[in-house]
Structure formats: C-alpha cells, structure tokens
C-alpha cells in the first residue's frame, strides 16, 4: 500500500549537510509562530467563526486520539464516538448532578474516557480485524442505549443542559472557551507526540507490524494494546469534555454512527499515523460543512469526493502530502536530530 508513495527519504547527504540544529531551530520557530497566530486569532474573528474554530479544536483531539488506535496501533476499532460520549457525559453529569466546577468535571470526563478506553481495549486482546470493528461499533451503540434508557442519571433521549461553564468564577464565552480549549489541546497533542516518539510509540507500531517479532523483543503485546486504547480514550474523553462545554448541552444523538463515520473520515483524510494529518483533517472536515452551508446537499457530495480522492491519490492522506512537500513537517516516531 505504501511502496509507491513513500519517498525514498531525503538523500542522506543533504540531510547531513543541513545542520540538524538548524532544522530543529526552524521547526521550533514554525511552531512558535503558529502558537502566536493561534493566540491572537480571537481578536480577528466574529462569534460564529469563533464557535467553528472551537469545534475544530475538539475534533483535532478526537482525531489525534482515534489515530493512536487505528493508525499507530493498527487496530480497526471504531470506538471514538463511544469515548467521546463518555467524556461528554461524565463531564456534564458531574456538573449537573454533583455541582462540580467545569475544570474538575473535565478532568473526571477525561479520566472516564481513559478508563473506558482501557476496558474497551480488552476485547482487542482476543479479536482483530472485522470482528473487532463490529464489536467496537456495538460498544458505542450500547453506550448510547445507556444514555437513552438510564434516564434517572442521564436525563434520557432528550439529553440535558449544562450549568454555566465557569473558570475561576468567570463565565466563559466562546472566546474564553477558545483559550481553555487551545491550552488543553496543545498539552494533549504534545504529550501524545512525545509518547509516540518514546519506546511506547515504537511498541505500538511494532505490534501493528509484527506481533510475534514484538513479543520476541520483550514487548508485552497485550499490555501495549491496553495502554494504546486507554490513551486514546483519555484524549478523546478530553475532547468529549470540551464538546460538552462548547455546546452547553449533551444528548445521545451526538455520539452515534454518524459521528464514528465523521471521525474515521477525518483520520483517513488526514492520514493514518500522522498527528499533523489528524489536525489538518479535523480543520478541513469541520470547516468545509460551514462553508457549504449555503449550498444544501453539496456538503455530502464534497465530503464523499474528498474521501474517495484521498483514498485514490494520497494513501497517506494530507499528513503524507505535507511531509512530502515540506520536509520540515516530516513526522517520525523518532527523529534522529532531536525533537521538535
């Protein structure tokens, strides 16, 4: 699948001549510039655009978390909507029932996502491929059934409205939420990136490539799978917590099959095994429907065409495309010349 597209790495000579410290400095500068732009962004956009941008951040986290399982670990588990819902419900319910402040509730939502992630990882120890795909879809639907029917706790099919989202007593508007979301997303994505470039990330990919070989090197395959699922649950659980705060409402129909498809499309279009791709995919697929609002029906068509186009022409997705054209953006589990 990859042979034709994988560029035969930048010639070694060129890489050796380009002082690694220079590449690193460039990469740091680019990152810093991006952060500065992101920090001043709210001053230039209206409330509607701000809301869309906040939504993009939520889906960046979903895609990054989902990619850990289907991209890096290589397990076909459609669990993202399940983790997303658990994060949103755990956050919303601990605010509504227990009166906890949003930051604490978000931590609970994140941890709940991680816990459910680890539990959902258990079936993956026994089944894989299509069977795992079916089981994971079933888990998502069971969770949704619980949201609908455990009315005493979850407020049933209609969902519920969150108490005010405050930070340090201050009511958070869309711009305030933006900075909270941005900080959370930067932290979570940075931690994921660090993790993927450590021996844990190597273990994920080793399990994806060759389980017997991984085991022969002392990698505890089962443990590695549970860790990857739990981390995925943690990141997507955080996304769910932010999603609850973003809309001020949580209801079961936000976490159905349609969401799984959207998440899958984001990761595929962004590129399996690329964090940058996940971010780009999330921005594109969250932004495009807004641009197409005025052309009813076009949304689905553009969405499908993009998916088909990517699968045919860019098997490594947007992440792969960017990496080919901008060597600076290349991602490796491990970067030989230090980290970004």
């Amino acid at each position: 699948m990859r042979e034709l597209t994988s560029s035969p790495a930048l010639p070694r000579v060129a890489r050796n001549l380009a002082a690694p410290s220079r590449e690193r400095a460039l990469r740091r500068t680019a990152l810093a510039a991006t952060l500065v732009v992101l920090c001043v962004l709210p001053f230039f956009v209206n409330d509607y655009v701000q809301f869309v941008i906040n939504t993009m951040i939520v889906y960046c986290l979903v895609a990054v978390g989902f990619n850990v399982v289907i991209g890096y670990l290589g397990q076909l588990a459609f669990v993202s909507a399940g983790f997303f819902g658990v994060g949103a419900y755990a956050t919303g319910l601990s605010m509504a029932h227990l009166g906890l402040p949003f930051p604490l509730a978000a931590v609970i939502g994140t941890l709940a996502g991680g816990l459910v992630g680890g539990l959902v990882g258990l079936p993956a120890l026994r089944v894989r491929g299509h069977y795992l795909a079916i089981i994971s879809l079933a888990v998502g639907e069971i969770l949704r059934w619980v949201y609908v029917h455990a009315e005493a706790v979850t407020f049933g099919a209609g969902g519920f409205t969150l108490p005010d989202v405050r930070l340090g007593g201050q009511l958070l508007g869309d711009k305030g939420k933006y900075y909270v979301f941005l900080a959370a997303a930067v932290a979570a994505i940075a931690a994921t990136s660090l993790l993927l470039r450590s021996r844990f990330g190597r273990a994920f990919v080793a399990v994806r490539n060759n389980e017997p070989a991984a085991a022969s090197l002392g990698i505890r395959v089962k443990r590695v799978k549970v860790i990857a699922f739990a981390w995925s649950g943690l990141v997507i659980g955080l996304a769910g917590a932010l999603y609850a705060a973003l809309n001020g409402r949580v209801s079961p129909d936000s976490f159905g099959l349609a969401q799984v498809l959207l998440h899958f499309a984001i990761v595929m279009i962004g590129g399996l095994g690329s964090l940058l791709g996940s971010v780009l995919g999330a921005v594109l697929l969250t932004g495009a429907p807004e641009l197409l609002r005025n052309f009813p029906g076009l949304e689905e068509i553009v969405f499908s065409l993009m998916l088909i186009g990517v699968l045919f022409f860019m098997p490594k997705g947007l992440g792969g495309l960017v990496a080919r054209t901008v060597p600076l953006a290349r991602e490796r589990l491990f970067r030989s010349n230090g980290d970004a």
């Binding site: 990859r2 042979e3 994988s6 035969p8 790495a9 070694r12 890489r15 940075a190 931690a191 994921t192 660090l194 993790l195 450590s198 021996r199 844990f200 190597r202 273990a203 990919v205 080793a206 994806r208 490539n209 060759n210 017997p212 070989a213 991984a214 085991a215 022969s216 090197l217 002392g218 990698i219 505890r220 395959v221 860790i227 981390w231 095994g273 490796r332 589990l333 491990f334 030989s336």
Partner: protein
Amino acid sequence: MLDVSDLSVRFGGLTAVSGLSFSVRAGEVFTMMGPNGAGKTTAFNAIGGFVRATAGRVRFDGRDLIGLPPEKIASLGIRRTFQNNGILREMTVLENVLTGLELDTPSTFWGSALGLPASGRAEREAVAKARRMLAEMEIADLEDRSAGDLSFGQQRLVEIARALVAGARLIMLDEPAVGLSPSERAHLATTLRELARTGIAILLVEHVQDLVMAVSDQVLVLNYGKRIAQCVPAELKNNAEVLEAYLGHA
C-alpha cells in the same frame, strides 16, 4: 546454559519434533541443520515460547521455559530472529534496533508522555547504543531508511542487529544467511565468532554450508523431527546418515 531434553512437539497427528535433546554452552555456536520440514524451526519456536511443547523440558540457566510467554523468555536474556522475516517494515532501521532495546530503556509511561528529563536521557542512551550496534554490523549508513524498503539481505542484518543490541546471553538465529551476499556472509561469520568469544551462546538454524563450517562448534542434524547426528563440523562429510538425509540412499 540451554538444556533441551526429550522435547517433542506434535500438531494433531503430525510429530514435528520428537524426543530432541541437546545443550548449548556459553560461548558456543551450536548449529541445527536438516532438510526442509525436519523440525528445526519448530524446535526454535518451542524454545522461544511461540509453540507449546507437547512433552519434554527446556531449561535456561536451570529455569524451565516451557509454558512461559515469548516476552517473558525474552526478558530472561534470549533473543531470536525469524526465518520469514521479523522486520518491522514501517519503522526506520534505527527504530527497529531501538525496539530491540525495549527492556533496556527504563523510561516510564508518564515520564515519556510528559517529556521528563529522565525519560529523555534513557531514550538518548538507547539511541547511542543502537547506533553503536549499527556501526558494528556495518549498516550505519542505513539508519534513516525505512526498513521495508531494504533488500532482503539488509533486512536480515537489521534483524540480527536488533537481536544482538540488548546484550542477550543466548541468541537464536533462524537461517540468518539467506539473502546475504558472500561478503555479508563472511562478515556475519566473523561477528558470530566474536560474539561467542564474549561468552554468548548462539543457536543457529542454517543451510548455508560455508557459514555452518566457519562458525559452528557443534552441529546437530535433524530429520523427521529426530536427531540423526551430532558432531563437530569437520566430521559431517563422513557421516553416512547425514549424507543419506540430504542426498538420498547411495
């Protein structure tokens, strides 16, 4: 160091390995040969924990290996390579060798996720170690290449480097010379001899005659899952049963 006694592996009605006994001492290169289907790889898999032995014992430093999972056996200081390629295709060569250091990299989960200095240090030490190994195997120039893009012979060398890097005490190599050029084979032979000299035990499955002759201290010949001969390499040519197994009845 490694003691195999009365090892048998049956798959349904087929007896792949039958009553096999041998031992490998520290510093020794011990080779298993035999025609295809003789049970060499199955014996390997039983020792490494990939196949469950039906009967018999495998002891490593006095510890029973039967029933232990492969990752546990690896943690005791045993590494192996795979006959049909155990390379991690989507990783670079350096990452492959680093993965061989899984058990020797003391970075913790949260330390890695939070980028704590101790984990970073562990990671850098692992990288330095892996690079030294690549240099020793004379494949340092492949470091950044994607392992799946290499030639079969190069992949073999990467896999061997990965098996050696963690300082295992017993190395099991399943047909390591397949796909290697004569000069790569000669280099492999020297590397194996040097390793043995440092006290590492090497268990080899190999067909390539010049390598077997050059490196082995002991050769065990298998056919139909049974030992038909065990001797020093020089005596192989005079062994009637070995000739018969390979060439048929004279």
